[in-house]
Amino acid sequence: MALLEVKGLEVKFPMRHGELTALRDVSFSLDKGERLGIVGESGAGKSVAAFAILNLIGRPGYISNGEIIFEGSDLAKMNARQIRSIRGNRINMIFQDPMMTLNPVLTIGTQMIECLQTHMNLNREQARERSIEKLRQVQIPSPEDRIDQYPHELSGGMRQRVVIAIALLTDPSVIIADEPTTALDVTIQAEIMELLLSLCEDNDVALMLITHDLGVVSQVTQRTIVMYAGRVVEEGPTRRIVENARHPYTHGLIDALPERTAPGMRLNQIPGVMPSLAAIPTGCSFNPRCEHVMDVCRSEQPGYVTDGEFRVACHWVAGREQQK
């Protein structure tokens, strides 16, 4: 039984001219200790999916359909008090920009201890001890002093370590990391990613890694979901996706990476741009950019073709499967 199972998730945003559907029929599952990558370009809906799990979508968005089963109960149906006992306790989040994630007017210690006092029955002293311990685990030098500092006294890399320490405070079973290294420098990125990876492994925490960077996904995750215009277009083991992507979009995305072309040659490009949520084409939302586009793609939204642990939403792939 999966630790976290998302079924048919749909998220809508009421707008001036009617509603926008940010997520359509998104389903996936996460096992205990598993590392899942969610890949997509900006506007694909991957962050919305992450925030929807903890019912944290910014107003006026709302979950209009679907279930989010975590340890046997549906997060989407929980009341405010119930979901608060999950947030920051069983399922924790890491945000993109460490410069913006920590409250500038509160000390690191305050921001850590409040978590522990909310979710665990600890007194101040114990909470402080535990916070220092976690800061040490994320390799922050002299954590006893750092804990009393304010965020602006720490560098970006250090702040992201603090955020990771906060995410680990309550021994959660899932960490959702939304582009955790995008705002950081290349060398710091690698360090933070490795730290996150080893901490998740050591503590048997499941990791949901949301990123646009296929390289990161291929190094860190076991399974990958590719999203396009609010929908999952492909899912499978990371290795198979990287080496043998089936969906033309995934394929194009991987081929567009500079390392896929000999130096000095033109890069492989996907023509056009991702549609805005207000103007998603009928049929397959990728059809205007697809090199394999067929008539059916323009009229009918493709269903999933499954092949064991592999899942693709594409008429062209389905057609080829049938021919086999």
Binding site: L54, R87, M100
Partner: protein, 325 residues
Amino acid sequence: MIAFLVRRFGQALVVMFVISLISFSIQDNLGDPLREMVGQSVSEAERQALRDEMGLNDPFLVQYWRFLKKAVRGDLGDSYFFKKPALDVILEKFPATMELVIGATLIILFLSIPIGVYCAINPRSWFTKLMMGMSIVGISIPVFLTAIMLIYLFSIGLGWLPSFGRGETTMIGFWETGFLTRDGLLHLILPSIALSSIMLPLFIRLIRSEMMEVLEQDYIRFAWAKGLSRTRIWFLHALKNTLLPVITVGGVQIGTMIAYTILTETVFQWPGMGFLFLEAVNRVDTPLIIAYLIVVGVIFVITNTLVDLIYGLVNPTVRLAGGQA
């Protein structure tokens, strides 16, 4: 810290210098001190002699220097009307104005923060809409009109509250207070409401918009993701950040508040500095006008310093030392 103190001191000097220049030119240009002293019957020659004797024919700078030297000692001359040292006359009225300002500040503090926060948290509720509607009407009614309306309604119409003066007061040392008697407090109600009538909606709107902006920040979303209680997120995480710009604006509004005391005191005939100042203007009582300006200048310098100190306490990224920030 040292830079902060030096800068504050420098700013105070500049402010006081400007005020002293203005004051001096008022003294120089307004009215003829001689007329006040000797009347019309003295001949022109005698006047000239007197002028020389009093140093009124000395060069500008010499006169200004003399004025400064006396001003530093607290000697701003005698009020023409009261025939007493002007500074003493003003300071006698200082408690009345202060208590009015305290009353209005309390109203603003205790209403604007809860209402502003509520409106930011519940942007769609009917109460928010009502408050936003009322606040824009509130900003559009001049202080003196609010004062007149209050008098018309509560004093003339309903007869609940007194319409002028301070009522019964008690002396605590030099400080004449109306806080200790029921009558004094009753007299304070309408003027305080009138004085706060423009600032209150202003601050409600400011707190609301700042708080709404803060609530959109990543660190608030992160706080939600940490599963903290609503009260902690709203009243610690969000409010502390909201207060920073509010404190800054508050500092700027002190000047406006003092200007409004003139209006309020005029309508309610509140025996404070503002009322006295307007009377002095009408009587061309130059020393009194100057004394008022100087007292107000000192109040500005002190309150602005306090505001800066409070800002530094709330905002850890500002080090008063100015060094590593």
